[in-house]
Amino acid sequence: MSQNILKRIANGDQAAVQDCLKTYGGLVWSLARRMLRNSDDAEDAVQEIFVDVWKNAGRFDESQSSETTYIAMIARRRLIDRIRFTQRRISADSIEDMLAEPARTGDADMQTLVEGREAFRALKGLRPEQQQVLQLSIVQGLSHQEISDATGMPLGTVKTHARRGLMQAREIMGVGNSSKEVSI
């Protein structure tokens, strides 16, 4: 069961490392290539991300998220860190391409597919400007200034769209709706 991989890693099971890479390596590799646009950087980043994953496997809480989302979160944070050190430019991808319906990839991890589609539906429920800003921020890793430069929107407007978009997406996806406190 893929959802037990992190627990096995936390228990020091070396075999689970390979299972983890087979299950989530593609997701992390995909995120890294998309956000960094440079294979060398992406390779370095993927190695760093998995070191983070190994070290934090024991802190995964299945009541909070799926393993897929947990690993995607670690990956996103590490990638943003790298992006902040590069003088990157907005990608050549058009906004329309980025907002295209996710392709049904046969060999994609099912959980990634399901969660990606759920997120896509939430995104489509937002106003176009909110979709645009969130995509540029989350998918491309651009700063609010870079988004402002790329879209011509004033900085304050970028922030407003990003905030409202994220709040609404959270509501649509029902993330964190539980009234219980986070266990600390």
Binding site: V28, R77, A103, Q135, R170
Partner: protein, 280 residues
């Protein structure tokens, strides 16, 4: 119990998740709700952003050589909880992670990211770090931060900070070295984040950092200080440059006799971190 955030608090949390926040914004968030970063909203925004990031991922297969490298490197990390260890000469503070604290792990997991780790570790009263004795009122005097937090603050506040990734040198025991160097000329401050550097016997040798300002690796680079590695895992070490550093082109770690040397023979280079030309 986490406090109920008002609209402004939620806005700041969103900014925190998507773009990172400034020190001033962080203080504002803390003043609105001291435990905002350990609450349900903060976690929910992080997971929402993570799920959105999965849209249109192609799940291409990890290249085999990368797969193999990660597996090989995993042996020193899998089952190892502690992620920061001491470098005694620099008063590095080891951080204890609270295994039950989601924001403890999240704080670490995003340590390299925008600003979340700094916020969590400073402001979460249950984060389990050794940044102790938080007063109720915001202090005038700055809290003593861990090297990990100081590194993060430098990243967050110094847009011009340089970064260089470690790669192996000639020392065979550190072929798996990884991590990076962050350096700010303006602040004359920097931090090394290193994994894969073996524990040294202080009685026999120490590691020494060298800072090169010429891309041709001049004969007399600047001394970045000596340090020790006490445990396996990742270490964060402040750079202790003896004289002013200007626009460094590369960093190198050599293995030297205890106390270091004035001029290294470069017989055992444990790691080399060239600054990418676009940054220098």
């Amino acid at each position: 119990m986490s406090s109920k955030l008002d609209e402004r608090g939620l806005e700041l949390l969103c900014d925190h998740t998507l773009f990172g926040v400034s020190d001033e914004e962080l203080r504002e968030l803390e003043s609105l709700a001291p435990d905002a970063l350990s609450g349900n909203d903060a976690v929910a925004f992080e997971f929402t952003a993570a799920q959105l990031s999965m849209i249109n991922t192609d799940n291409a297969e990890l290249p085999q050589h990368l797969f193999d490298k990660i597996v090989a490197n995993s042996k020193q990390h899998v089952g190892v909880e502690t992620n920061v260890f001491t470098a005694p000469r620099r008063d590095v503070i080891a951080e204890k992670q609270n295994s039950g604290a989601i924001w403890g792990w999240l704080g670490w997991a995003v340590a390299g990211a925008a600003s979340i780790a700094l916020a969590v570790n400073i402001f979460s009263p249950q984060s389990g770090t050794e940044v102790a004795n938080l007063p109720k009122d915001p202090p005038v005097v700055e809290q003593k931060l861990t090297p990990l937090q100081l590194r993060q603050r430098l990243i967050d506040t110094e847009q011009a900070a340089l970064r260089a990734d470690w790669s192996k040198g000639t020392f065979k025991d550190s072929e798996g070295i990884s991590g990076d160097v962050v350096w700010s000329d303006a602040k004359q401050t920097g931090y090394m984040r290193i994994s894969g550097l073996p524990v040294n016997d202080k009685a026999k040798n120490q590691y020494q950092l060298w800072i090169f300002e010429d891309s041709k690796l001049e004969k007399f680079p600047k001394d970045g200080g000596v340090f020790d590695v006490d445990e396996n895992g990742e270490v964060i070490i402040p750079i202790d440059a003896k004289i002013a550093v200007n626009n460094p082109k590369a960093f190198a770690i050599t293995v030297e006799k205890p106390g270091g040397v004035v001029v290294s023979e470069r017989g055992q280079i444990a790691g080399l971190a060239p600054v990418k030309p676009s940054q220098s």
